[in-house]
């Protein structure tokens, strides 16, 4: 009734009365009169508690006497009293909200100390609320989170009691680490991190000694269970239907890894020791690494190798904690199956069957129970608290309580054992290193006594992508992640020679480079089953392997890739006119979005078998091409990547790509010498009706609109410049003096609607000038495109025909090109002089059809070229060029017939990679040390 009326009055005048010491005194009075919660006074109590909250916060901000009164009268005790009466949800929620607000809003440190000083807060923390109620659960965990945010070296003493070994805030919170509600789990993680962050040795020792083993072992089990679910999701997938669920599970795994990493980077050493031990010996090694090898005893194998490769990549990409990742990498690179058996021998005095062994097993008891036990022990026979979770475990619990002391001892021993194991591990690992060195030295001497490295063998073998690159992509990611990890000892990586390519004692680097080249070979096949992401990664890794080595190592692989690129791209040139646009588009999108391995490894879709269809929504680089268009796009990209790789390996700069460099173009506000240039005066009317008097100038690549420069006669200021190749010109129906001109901005997204950068009608003095302009633009467009195509042809090392064969066009173009380009720094100039070989772009509607027909007959898979012809409409009316057009067509056909045999399947030379490898290895007999 009270709260009700208050709600209505509101207002500042009344509020003043409500927010006052007097009012708090009245509230206190209400509490003393209602110490027992009944159905009748429930509402009153709730409103009283709520009002008290409000007054307290107001007091903290405005009048400290309010706070003094609250403490003096020990009003917190009333809250506890109410809480303990099982007063029901309504009251509970109100109390929890009050506590949340109280600790969230209090600004004065002394107020906070007072609130925490009498241990009431801890009593509330351990109170068993009805956690099945999601709202109570949410308020409760938020309350704990709010408290954890207040933790520091001073306040921690209010929560952690070193005498009784009690740290309710922490122990109660971690009990919910695997709560089904994600927000609750997040809150628990926040709380634990906030606790670990406090630099209080005693508290941290308590955490390690009493809680770390139970918590981390359960956490590790929880993560592993998710991984197994994830694996099941991959296994049972049909036609990518599980993708939604899978991406959640992957995100969950990433969350876990980031959480673990957040703990590790707090860098509390002895916590990290325990965590590392658990992660390594209970999860990463037995579940992830062990699953890499296919064993006869299949029941031990938990997850699919591709899943484990994927997850391991994530581990190395996210976690950089040296002791952990180094040990893990060492097992993968050097270890064999004995790492799963040898440890058992060392644990002779171990009590429970599965401790110390590297096995992914369920912790012997639930976290909650472990913590209970530890509390019992600490307190010597405290009454067991009712526990909503382990109802029905009574007997066990009692038995456990009796054996409590023993178990504790056992646990302590176990921990010591584990630490010992760690040390001995490290030493055996270093031993292994030494023997490795010896063995590889022996291998170099020719007496190869192959030591079994099943994990590394598996990794290398999975690089085979003859049939598919499903596994190969993950392996490449894993190798990439390994070689980029800050936590891995560089010496370890010499085994795969990634960052230290100068070292060539190990036989493995050759294996790796050979496999990488094989991947590229497969990628370069017209129907290779290698995705672009896989190719890009193998290029990255190959560069990393060989680039820092001395130069003569590099000849062979680069020569090889040159071979690949030519073969591949020539097969795709039937793309015709649109080919140029695709070519430039692909270059743009590839350079604007270089591969990010970390993002790639966050994508769950690559966990499912590679697919070709874009209907899955999977990114183009992460799937196989679908249809001729995409095959061409893929071929172009393969060409770019291999070309870039090849140039880089040879230490040559890229001078040909992109075909259009922005710095070579005429830009707005450039001042040009236009003496002796053909200029046509016109009125440019833009779409929104703005008119401007301009001169139209057509250049090699661009058309520009200029204004006379006032200071120099014959010079002009560029007001607009656009690429001729992206231009569309059309006549205006009822005005023979006007043209509509549109120039689109080149886009890197093939699905995006082209954005016009110019859309205007041009009005000329008379229809003759209009026709001249139209012809000049049309011709300019053809030439611009043809010259680029020529440059592509030159790039692909396609045969360039002597200009005499295409007389009509060849002459005019070569003269005009040379005359105009002589003033411009275009890089293709030399090729332009050689004359056009690539005439297939020049097509006028009249014979475009014939051309298609011919093409059809000559090449069965050129259907994609049809799309190209829609653009050639811009050419209509260029009747004077029909002769040269015919010539051009002839050239085109000749060109096609020339390329066809090239484009046919040519399997990679079987000896090629072996050959290059041989050369590669023979070129590097030196030892760098």
């Amino acid at each position: 009734m009270f709260g009700r009326s208050r709600g209505w009055v509101g207002g500042q005048g009344k509020a003043k009365n409500i927010h006052s010491l007097d009012h708090l005194k009245y509230m206190y009075h209400v509490l003393t009169k209602n110490t027992t919660v009944t159905d009748h006074n429930r509402n009153l109590l709730v409103e009283t508690i709520r009002s008290i909250t409000e007054i307290l916060i107001w007091g903290d901000q405005n009048d400290s006497s309010v706070f003094d009164f609250f403490l003096e009268k020990n009003m917190f005790a009333f809250f506890l009293n109410i809480l303990r009466q099982k007063s029901g949800r309504y009251v509970c929620v109100q109390l929890l909200q009050t506590l949340n607000i109280l600790f969230e809003n209090i600004s004065h440190e002394t107020s906070l100390y007072y609130l925490l000083s009498n241990n009431h807060v801890n009593s509330i923390i351990v109170h068993k609320f009805d956690f099945s109620d999601e709202e109570i659960m949410a308020y409760y965990i938020s309350f704990l989170k709010t408290l954890s945010l207040k933790l520091n070296n001073h306040t921690v003493h209010f929560f952690y009691n070193e005498h009784t070994n009690d740290f309710a805030l922490y122990t109660e919170a971690i009990k919910f680490f695997n709560h089904p509600e994600s927000m609750v789990r997040i809150a628990v993680r926040t709380i634990t991190l906030n606790v670990y962050k406090v630099d209080n040795q005693q508290m941290l020792h308590y955490i390690r000694d009493k809680t770390a083993v139970p918590y981390f072992s359960n956490l590790v089990w929880f993560i592993g269970s998710h991984v197994i679910e994830l694996d099941k999701c991959v296994q049972t997938d049909e036609e990518h239907k599980n993708r939604g669920k899978l991406s959640d599970l992957v995100a969950e795994h990433l969350d876990h890894l980031h959480y673990l990493n957040d703990i590790l980077i707090i860098n509390c050493e002895f916590l990290n020791d325990v965590l590392t031990d658990h992660l390594l010996n209970r999860l990463f090694l037995p579940l992830y690494v062990y699953s890499l090898v296919t064993q006869e005893q299949n029941e031990d194998r938990k997850i699919n190798p591709q899943v484990s490769l994927y997850l391991l990549s994530q581990v190395f990409l996210i976690i950089h904690y040296q002791p952990l990742v180094n040990a893990l990498a060492d097992v993968i690179l050097n270890g064999d199956l004995t790492v799963f058996t040898t440890q058992t021998e060392q644990n002779t005095h171990k009590t429970s069957a599965n401790s110390g062994v590297r096995r992914f097993t369920k912790p012997p008891e639930s976290l909650e129970r472990s913590l209970e036990m530890s509390r019992h022990r600490g307190r010597k026979k405290t009454q067991k608290r009712p526990n909503y979770k382990n109802v029905g475990e009574e007997d066990e619990e009692e038995r456990g309580a009796e054996e409590g002391a023993d178990e504790e001892k056992a646990k302590e021993i176990e921990m010591v054992v584990m630490e010992k194991c760690k040390i001995s591990d490290v030493s055996t690992l270093t031993e292994q290193n030494i023997t490795d060195e010896e063995k590889s030295a022996a291998a170099a001497a020719g007496t190869e006594e192959q030591r079994s490295r099943p994990f590394l063998d598996m990794v290398y073998n999975a690089l085979d992508c003859e049939k598919e690159d499903y596994h190969a992509l993950f392996v490449l990611c894993l190798l990439f992640a390994l070689s980029h990890s800050k936590g891995i000892n560089p010496e370890l990586l010499e085994k795969i020679q990634l960052p230290f390519p100068g070292e060539d004692r190990s036989s493995y680097s050759h294996v790796l480079v050979e496999r990488l080249i094989r991947v590229m070979n497969h990628a370069a096949l017209p129907d290779g089953k290698v995705r672009l992401a896989t190719l890009e990664l193998s290029c990255l890794l190959l560069k990393q392997s060989v680039l820092s080595a001395s130069l003569h190592h590099q000849r062979r692989p680069s020569g090889l890739s040159g071979g690949c690129e030519r073969r591949e791209s020539s097969s795709s040139t039937e793309g015709e006119e649109i080919f140029l646009d695709m070519f430039e588009d692909e270059y743009r999108s590839m350079t604007s979005k270089p591969l990010n391995v970390e993002y790639l490894m966050m994508d769950a879709s690559i966990l499912l078998p590679p697919t070709g269809t874009p209907l899955t929504g999977i990114d183009f680089v992460k799937r196989l091409p679908c249809g001729d268009m995409e095959k061409t796009r893929r071929a172009i990209r393969v060409f770019f990547m291999l070309r870039a790789l090849s140039l880089q390996l040879q230490g040559e700069p890229e001078t040909q790509l992109p075909l259009t460099r922005p710095e070579d173009l005429i830009k707005t506000d450039d001042v040009l010498d236009l003496n002796n240039s053909d200029l046509i005066a016109c009125m440019v009317v833009s779409k929104d009706g703005v008119q401007a008097q301009r001169f139209l100038a057509v250049d090699v690549y661009q058309m520009s609109l200029v204004e006379p420069e006032t200071k120099r006669l014959g010079w002009g200021v560029v007001k607009f410049a656009g690429l001729l190749q992206d231009m569309q010109v059309s006549g205006v129906e009822d005005d023979s003096r006007a043209l509509n001109i549109t120039i689109h901005k080149p886009t890197s997204n093939p699905h995006a609607k082209p954005l016009p950068i110019l859309q205007a009608s041009f009005i000329f003095a008379d229809h003759i000038r209009c026709i001249i302009a139209k012809q000049r633009l049309a011709k300019g467009r053809i030439q611009a495109r043809r010259m680029k195509m020529q440059r592509i042809a030159a790039l692909l090392d396609l045969p360039v025909q002597p200009s005499s064969e295409v007389l009509g066009f060849g002459q005019s173009s070569s003269t005009s090109a040379s005359s105009s380009s002589s003033q411009l720094p275009f890089r293709f100039y030399d090729q332009a002089r050689r004359g056009p070989a690539f005439a297939s772009v020049d097509r006028v509607p009249g014979f475009a059809v014939a051309h298609v027909a011919q093409q059809r007959s000559s090449s069965p898979n050129s259907s994609s070229s049809i799309t190209a012809h829609s653009e050639s409409i811009t050419m209509s009316g260029v009747s004077t060029h029909s002769m040269s057009g015919l010539e051009a067509r002839a050239g085109g056909v000749r060109f096609l017939s020339r390329t066809m045999p090239e484009s046919g399947f040519r399997p990679p030379h079987p000896g090629m990679s072996a050959l290059s490898l041989a050369a590669f290895s023979s070129a590097s007999p030196r030892r760098v040390h």
Binding site: G3, R6, G7, G10, Q12, A15, H19, E47, R50, E54, I57, W58, Q61, N62, Q97, N100, I101, E104, N105, E135, A138, Y139, S142, K145, T146, S148, L149, S182, M183, R185, I186, R189, T190, L193, N194, K197, K241, R243, G244, K245, D248, A251, E252, L254, D255, H258, Y259, N261, D262, L615, T616, G617
Partner: protein
Amino acid sequence: MAYAYLFKYIIIGDTGVGKSCLLLQFTDKRFQPVHDLTIGVEFGARMITIDGKQIKLQIWDTAGQESFRSITRSYYRGAAGALLVYDITRRDTFNHLTTWLEDARQHSNSNMVIMLIGNKSDLESRREVKKEEGEAFAREHGLIFMETSAKTASNVEEAFINTAKEIYEKIQEGVFDINNEANGIKIGPQHAATNSTLAGGQGGQQAGGGCC
């Protein structure tokens, strides 16, 4: 208590922009805004009605996420809606929006509805960010925009409810997979049974519609 859906929200933005005050203002009407009292909370829940359906909103303040990457990630992922708040009297809080948005877009599921909120609209005299700027930012990034005041309660209701409406519409369109709780949407306990037909239909739609 019965609800058809539960939507989980998070509130993000620089410290001091009034996130927890907005939250308390919305979730608990009993706390009247008063000039000499700044009061907020980190968690709140409230029932609203959309289209005749009871919908429970659960709002989590993301306090404490700043220091830990794992926490940021998880928060975003678990929410169906996000209120991105800045303070109209502090230009820097507006300037940081891009960073917040990048984070949100990177970590959240793509369907998360983001509402941009310019808070403290009652402090007109100290305004540093024009309303038009907020509108432009929202338009550019495809967000819903509103200026609110936790102090006067102006627009607070609308901000939360409009976000919920947007989420609700997305559910109707079948964009959200409601059977996947990781999206920050939960079907009410007693509605789970009645909704199973709808859910099934939606699931099928998803499988079919997933291709676009």
